[in-house]
């Protein structure tokens, strides 16, 4: 391994770790407000977390495939899918705003939307 290789490895790793840190701290919010399901880039369904009282199962059946998701009061996951890699099922629960689960073969994106920036109060 040459010196150039080491520089490249350190650079790529460094950039990756820094941007991973930035994504985790800046992009992912705390709690989510609603779940948005998109298929092929278009809105398929939307659920508000405060309307979910008990665990709810939603089946997504489209021309691209089948996914079954489970929604709880503050988190969501994919329980079943007909895609070959099952990566969406392996992804497990997501519970933070802006996090997402993607099933590429079925073109499904499940993401959590956060609170719109609202002010609790203004002090003068």
């Amino acid at each position: 391994m040459t010196k150039g290789d080491k520089i490249i490895i350190v650079l790529v790793m460094g950039i990756s770790f820094i941007s991973m840190f930035l994504v985790n701290t800046l992009f992912y919010g705390t709690a989510g407000k609603s779940i948005v399901i998109e298929v092929d880039g278009e809105l398929y369904a939307k659920y508000n977390f405060n309307e979910i009282t008990s665990a709810k199962h939603v089946e997504i059946r489209t021309q691209y495939g089948y996914n079954k998701i489970e929604i709880e009061s503050n988190r969501v996951r994919v329980v079943e899918a007909d895609c070959p890699d099952q990566l969406d099922v392996l992804a497990g629960w997501i519970d933070k705003a802006n996090q997402m689960i993607v099933c590429l073969p079925n073109r499904v994106v499940i993401r959590i939307e956060g609170e719109a920036e609202e002010l609790d109060g203004v002090a003068y």
Binding site: T2, V23, D40, L104, P105
Partner: protein
Amino acid sequence: MKNTFKIVYIAMLIAIGLVLHIIESYIPVMVSLPGAKLGLANIASLLTVVVFGPATAFVVSAVRALLGGLLTGGVSSIPYSLNGALFSTLIMWLVYRTLYPKVSLIGISVLGAAAHNIAQIFTASVILGNFGLFTYLPVLGIVGTITGYFIGLTANYALGTLKVSIQTQRKNGGKT
């Protein structure tokens, strides 16, 4: 004679890439790292870049990605692997041209893996119309650097043997 010789080598490199592509699809993914893979087939692309140059390397990686997608049953994944393979071949060739031998096959392979990941995520973002997928790039970058290191190391070993083999063939006019 020389042409036949080249055709045979290209066919062999495609075959090697294809077999590695298929073997890789049998390795189960333990955790959820969408798009993360060993990139074994990249060995063939990398060797082609070094031995035969960019034009041949594009053919080898494109044919490998197409046939690999068909043979492993992942037809819907062809756009991702095709774009990934072509873009990573382009980057590997550029790095090879400008920085080799200051940067060995290891560095070339690491950057090739990074390019593959970027192209793959870009393709997925366009297909799904969601550029938020790029938040996943850092994780792939880390995994790709580790796998890219080992792929480069492997290609380094293979290159020595391949070069000797090609020289012997050329000297003997195609006869072994």
